[in-house]
Amino acid sequence: MTKPKVLFVDDEPRILDGLRRSLRGKRTEWDMSFAPGGEPALELLATAKHDVIVSDMRMPGMDGAELLTRVSIQYPEVARVVLSGHTEPEAAIRVAIAGHRFLTKPTETETLTGVIDQLIVKTSGTHGSEARHIAGTARALPTLPGQIAELGAALAAQDSDPARLPQAVSLDTGLTAKVLQLSNSAFFGARPKNAGIAAVVTAMGVPTIQALVSATAELWSPTTWEPETEAFLRLTLRHAVATASLVESVASPAHRPHAHAAALLQDVGGLAALAGLVGGSPHSVDLGLGRCEGMPFRDVGVELLHLWGLPAPVTAAVAERDLPHEPAEAGLGVSGAVRVAHLLIQGIEAGDPSIGMHDDELKVLLAHPQMATRSCDWDAAAEDAWERAGKWPAA
């Protein structure tokens, strides 16, 4: 078996020497190469298939953001890690869109090797490389025009109505994913543990959110969707928003932040495939079957969440959404709560909650003490969540 290939890029020879020395122990596991800048890095990538690239940000000529953007287009299957010291805010946002993981210098060797080891693993055993390739093309998720308008309005109302921005971000699938991805990093303000989106938005600060919204809008504004594609996007996002809203009542207090995020991101694979489609990628996408290059959207989505390094319970809940859930006596956890909310919303979408494909499973889930002890009409709650999601985005 060939060893995974890892490429390190930095314009300072001293830093590359330091990496070579501190990573000597990994020589038996990884095949490592070192490039003194963006151009030589691209030359190396052209000669052999790599698994992970670790790049500095500030380099003369081609900077890290430009390099990783090019890698995302030419070699999307290569996982993209930023390892950098101080970064100008403008460049930080550019690399926030292009990168997968963000580490600040100095970083403990174990942290760096831990991240690289994680990224070498692919989540799909059967479609590993294809899922990685398609997931790797996604830099941001597609949005409906009204979403950007809603975020813009929330940003403009920041002084008079500060609660509106976290609320708007917490309903926006692409921005929620990006904010959770970045919040792991000291680059963008460290994340409070197990935090909800509101806390993360506050920690990151309004200017960063503003910049992310602009960057996302720039990626998507020229797009006019085909009617069929827009209908798919609308339905996918309505399901996501309705499930996220319902799961706030289903999940136990400590699981709410992760369950909310997982519900919002449950169809991220389809969104990523759509992003590739609009971005001109050659992949064949079947929206009706939910497949990209013959592979289920879910495989693409889970691989993307893994690349982005989202909290493990979030990725696990997305991976398990379509699997029949046998509730543990001790509690539903994040995955169980997301599954319950998803099935309830699916019942409403089907038109009649009493005829569902998963009736027996849902009955068992609703009889679990976590659900049954709270006197709640779950079908009515699902109906309400679905109706409210239909009014979103307001614009």
Binding site: V121, G125, H127, A195, P253, R298, A312, A330, T373
Partner: protein, 134 residues
């Protein structure tokens, strides 16, 4: 790994949980009753709480209420009860526990719960065996 506070007046349970959780690399703090639990919550700022229901003085529900009244990110709480007792389980769910176990319980179940909250398991999408663990 996680910082875990165990609040239980039964020394055997405290010992059992310390043994299994420390072996998995977690940092354990022990409180002998509800009063001690509230003190250690403040002092140690844990990531996860294992909480017995029936304790003299301040009971598990009282401690849970103070935990849920705290500002900031909700703390995961696993509640324990002396025997299979549907009434106290029901009250626990209404009051906002995240997990509920009746004694006696298999220590592995507690490990699995803690691991699902803090573990870095990479999920797989092809259903071939257990995911890799880091």
């Amino acid at each position: 790994m996680a910082k875990i506070l165990v609040v239980d007046d039964d020394p055997a349970i405290r010992q059992l949980l310390t043994d299994v959780l420390e072996l998995d690399g977690h940092e354990i703090h022990l409180a002998v009753d509800g009063h001690d639990g509230l003190r250690l919550l403040e002092l140690t700022r844990p990531d996860f709480v294992v909480l017995d229901v029936m304790m003299p003085g301040i009971d598990g529900y009282d401690v849970l209420r103070s935990i849920r009244a705290q500002e900031g990110d909700p703390l995961p709480v696993l509640m324990l009860t002396a025997s299979a007792d549907p009434a106290s389980a029901a009250r626990g769910w209404v009051d906002g526990v995240d997990y509920y176990l009746a004694k006696p319980f298999a220590p592995d179940v507690v490990l699995d719960i803690v691991d699902s909250v803090f573990g870095q398991r990479i999920p797989t999408t092809d259903g071939t065996g257990p995911p890799e663990r880091f």
